[in-house]
Amino acid sequence: MNYRVTHTTTYKTTNRVSVCHNAAWLTPRDTGRQKVSNHEITIKPAPSIYSVREDVFGNHVTHFSLNEGYEQLEVKATSQVSVAPLAPMPTDTTPWESIVKRIQVHSTVADLDALQFKFDSPRSHYSLAAADYARETFSQGRPVYEAVLELTSRVNEDFTYDPKATTVTTPIAEVLRKRRGVCQDFAHVQIAMLRSLGLAARYVSGYVRTYPPAGKPRLVGADASHAWLSVYCGDLGWIDVDPTNDKRAGEEHITLSWGRDYGDVTPLKGIYTGGGKHALDVSVDVAPIETDSEVISVAS
C-alpha cells in the first residue's frame, strides 16, 4: 500500500519566542516491508540551523534552531511511503523461554542488538504487577508468537482507551492500576510486561491508516500519530503488535522510528524561551495513494 503522510505541528504564542532548539523524529525509516520514496520537513519561519543525523537506533533525527524570534512555528513533515503486506507466520514457533535464553547468551549480532531492549528504560521498567499480568499468558513452553498475540489481545481487552486518564508523564505503574490510557501507555505497559519476562521489546512511533465511517468521505488531517511495540522473536525477527487495535502492525501501519520508549523517539522535542501563553495544534493526514488513478492521470 502507498501513502502520503502529512504531519503538521503548529505552535502559536502570544509573545515572541526568542530562541528555540528542537529535535524531531519525524522521518519514516526504511524497513524490511517499508520503503520511503519521498520525504521533506519544512519549517516556517525558516530555521537558522538545520541538520540531520542518525541516532544510535538508526532513526533519522532532524535538529533545527530558530533565533530570529517568532510568534508562530509550523513544522510540516510530508512523506511518501509504501508498505508491503505481512508475510504469513508459521503457527508452530519456538517456546518463549528459548528466546529469553538466546538474548541472555547473545551470541549472534541480532541477539546482541536485541539485548539492549530487554533492560529498563526511563518510561518502561520492570514491575511485579506487569510480570504477573504477563505470566498468565506466558505459560511454560508456550510458542512465543502465539503468546505475544494473546498478550496483545488481553491488553486491548483489559485496558480502556481514555485520553483524559493519563498525561505524557504518567508512570506506567499508574496506567497498570487504572487500566486506562492511550496507545502510548498501552505500548509502554506491554513493553514492561515483556521485559519483565526477560524478552526484548521496543517502542515504535508511527501512524496508522484510518477509515471514514461507511458512506462518509475521508477527513483530511483527522488522523493522529500512533504508537505500538515490537517484540524480538529470534529467527522470526521482530514482530510488531498494536495493542490499541489488537492486531499485528501490517500494511496499515507506517513506521517513523523506534527506541526503548517514547522518550527516545518523541516526534518533536523543543526547548524555547519567551512566548507567553501558547497553543499547540497537531494535524496528521494519512492519505492512501490510489495507484490506479495515477495511472489514469498519466495516460490522459
Binding site: L115, Q116, V282
Partner: protein, 858 residues
Amino acid sequence: MDIETDTPASTFDPYMPPETVHDELRLSTGEIRPHWRTFAKGFAREQQSELARRWEHANQIVHENGITYNVFDEKPENNHPWQIDLLPYLIAAEEWDRLSAGIAQRAKLLSLVLDDLYGPQQLLKSGDLPPEMVYAHPNYHHSFHKLPVGPERRLMFFGCEVARSPDGRWWAMADRAEGPAGAGYALENRIVISRTWPRLIHDCHIRRLAPFFMRWQQALAELSPRATENPRIVLLTAGSTQPFYFEDVYLARYLGYTLVEGGDLAVRDNCVFIKTLDGLVQIDVIVSRVNESDLDPLEIRSSNRNGAAGLLQAIREGNVVVVNAPGSGFVESPAIMAKLPQLCRTVLKTELILPSIATWWCGDESSQQYVLDNLAKLVIKPAFEPSGGTEIFGEHLSNSEQQELAGKIRQAPADYVAQETIARSASPVWKSEGMQVGHAALRTFAMRHANHYEVMPGALVRVALSADPMKLSISAGDGSKDAWIVSEKPVEKVSLLPTADDVPELRRNSPQLPSRVADNLFWLGRHLDRAEVSARLLRVVIDRLSGERDADEVPELPALIHLLAEGGQIDPEYAIEDMQGSLPEIEQRLPAAIFDLTEPRSLRSIVNEIARLASTVRDRLSNDTWRAVNRIDERFHPASPQDKVPLDEALSLLNQLVIDLAVCGGLINDGMVRGPAWRFLTMGRRTERAQLTSGLLLVLLQPPLPSSSVLDAVLDVMDLQMTYRARYLAAIRPAPVFDLLLVDESNPRSLLYQLSELQSLIHLLPADAQQIGLSDEQKIVSDVLHQLQMVDLSKDMPENWNTTDVDSVNKGLEFELNLVELLQNQQDAMKELTAAISRKYLVHSGTPRRIQDELTRP
C-alpha cells in the same frame, strides 16, 4: 637519640600503629624511613608551643579562606571547614614514579574503553565489557554516542583514589572521571602547608604542583576548535549550593577561566556563548563540573538548569569541546573495576600496573556465589553508582539483615558489586596532646597532555583517626594532609615566570562578566548598604533604650521605631502608639528581632543574604574582601540564646558589625578595579543608599514635624554629628539637617551624592550601538538629579516649624508637600532604574520551557 637521623626517639610519641597496617613513617626495624629523615630532623627542632602555634595558624588560614566543601549551604553540617594536619604525607620519589605509572595507565585504559563504548562497541561484541553492565547502567546515555572526541581524549582530567595494604602495595579504590573533584583542595593544602613549613619544604626537595596545572592549561587550549591565539575556556559549575563550589571557584581563579553556570550559556547556530554585559561571547572549551546528564535538557530530560539546550549538537558540529567528554561518568561505577584486568589485557595487551581493590560484580554467576558466601567480609555497593554513595558493610549486618540483602542480590544480581575492605596505611597525625595514628587514602590526579597522561606530583590526602573503612566520597569529613613527593636531589627549578616569548599582551579589561554575576553583584551592593544603615539605626535605638531615661522620656523614640518598622526590623505594631501597651516590652523584643531568621528583612537575614550573594560572585571578589565578608557573617552571632540577648550584647555586636561592614566597603572602594564588576556592585550600593535616605526623609516629613531630638537621632544614624557640630556650633535645626541629608554634594551620605554617582556609573555602562541620545537609565537618573538640584532650602524652607503664624504654616506645608512629592518620585525612579538595568543588562532570556510535554499524544 637516633644516631642515624639526629631525631630524638620521642619526636613522634606516642604514635604506634598496629602491626596489621603498613607504617609510612618507620621501617619494621623501628628506624625512620629514609625519605622522612630530613623532615623529621627539622620537625624535631621545633618547640611544642611553636608547633601548636603553627597548627593554629594553618587551620586559621583554612578557615578564613573558607575551604569548606560547601561555602554556603543551609545545613551547617555541610559547611564544616577542612582540618589540615601539620605533618605532610611523605612519599619517596622513586616509589611515587612507580605509582604514577599505574595511575597514568588506568587513565589511558579507561579513556580507550570509553572511546569504544561510545563508538564501535567492539568490547561489547567481544564480551570483555558485558553488555548487561552497559545497558542496565542508568547513566549510559545513547545521546553521547559518536560525539567527535579525539582518540584517548575523553578523560582530560582523571582522579584515582589509592591506598596501601599492610604489605605496602598500592591499590586503586575508586576511579573519578566526571569532573573529578579534589585537585583544588590539594593545591590549597599545599599553599597552607608551605607557609607553615617554609624552610622544610625547600630542604625536603619536594616536587611542585604549579607546572602540572600550567601544562593542563596548555592541553586545554590545544583542544580549542577555533584556531585562535586565546581560546576562551570556561569552567561550568553547578552553583553555590553544590558541595564542590569552593573548588570550582578556586580552580577557575587559579587557571584564569571564567566561572559560569548553565544559565550563563546560550547556544546559537550550534555555537556556545556566554551571556555577558557586552552581549554574547563565543566560547571554545568548557571544563564541566556538572552532572553530564544535565548538560543538554533538549536531549536528556533533567530537572536542573545546569546545562544549555543544544549543547550536544554544538559538540557534534565540532564548535565546542566539553571536558571531560560527556559519557565519562560511566567508568566511575565500581562494577567496571571487576572487569578492568580483562579489559587491560584486551585493550592494552598488558597487565594492570595499579590493580583495583578486589571487586566482584554479581552479574557474573560465579562472583555472585562468592559474594553470597562471604557477605560478612565484604562491602556491598550499588553496581552503577559512583563509589562513595551507598555502602553496606557486611560485618555490620545482623543475620536477618544479611539474609535480606542476599535476597535483594539474588533478585537483581547485576545491580550489585562487592569489594574487599582495605586496611589503609598509618601515618602520624599531629595533635597538641601527642601524635596519633592516622589512616590515609590519597586522591591522585592525572591529566592528558602531549599524547600521554601526566600525574600531579602530589595528592589530596585524607586521614581518619579510626581504622574503620573510610568513605570514598571526599565530602565525608575527615582531616586532610598535604602530600610531599620527596626527591634525594633538589628538584629542577621550573620557572613559573613566563619566558620572553610569551609575554602577555597588556590588558585593561577583565574576563567577560556574565550577566548573572552582574546581577548578583548589584544585589550584593544593595544588601551591604542596607545592612549598614539598619545596623546604625538599631544602634541608635538601643542606645536610647539603654540610657537612664525611661522609654516614655525619650521623645524621639516613636519616630525611630517608625523607621525600624518601615525597614522591617521590628513588628509594625510597635509603630502604632495605641498598641504598644499590649506588646512585649520593646527592650526585650528588639534584640530578638535583630536575629530573627524567619523575618526576611531582619538584620541577620540581610547578613545571610550578603554571605549567600558573595559566595555566588566569589570569583569576582579579592581574597581580602572575601575574608571580610566571611567575618561579617561569622561574628554577627549572639552568644546568648536568640530570644534572651541583653541590650548591651546586641549593642556591641552592632558596633562590631558597623566596623566589619566598613572594612568590607573600604576594600571594595580602595581595592577593586573600576571595571564592570565594581560598577554593578557600586550601583547597587548607591541605589540602596538613595532609597534608604529618601525613605528616612519621608518618615521625618510625616506630621508631626521632627523635633530637635529626632533630628539629633538622625544625625547619629547617618554618622553626621561631628560634621554638623563643626559647621553650626548651634542647636539642631531642621534646615541644616535637611541640607546635609538631601542636597549637600560633599556629603557621601546625601541623596544628591548618591544620584550624581549613579549618573556617572550609568554613563560608563556598555552602550547600545543603535542608541541615539540618552539611554532609559540615563534619563531616569538625570531627571531626578535635576529635580533635586533645583531644591533651594534657604528659600523654600520655613525658618520656624512650630509656629502659629499662618504664612509660616502655609509656607511650611507647601515646602513639605513639594519635598514629599520629590522624594516619592525619586523612590519610584530607583525602582524603574533597577528594572531598566535588569531588562537591558541582566535578563538575556526567560525561563526555558519544554515543547514536548505540551504535545497532544499519540
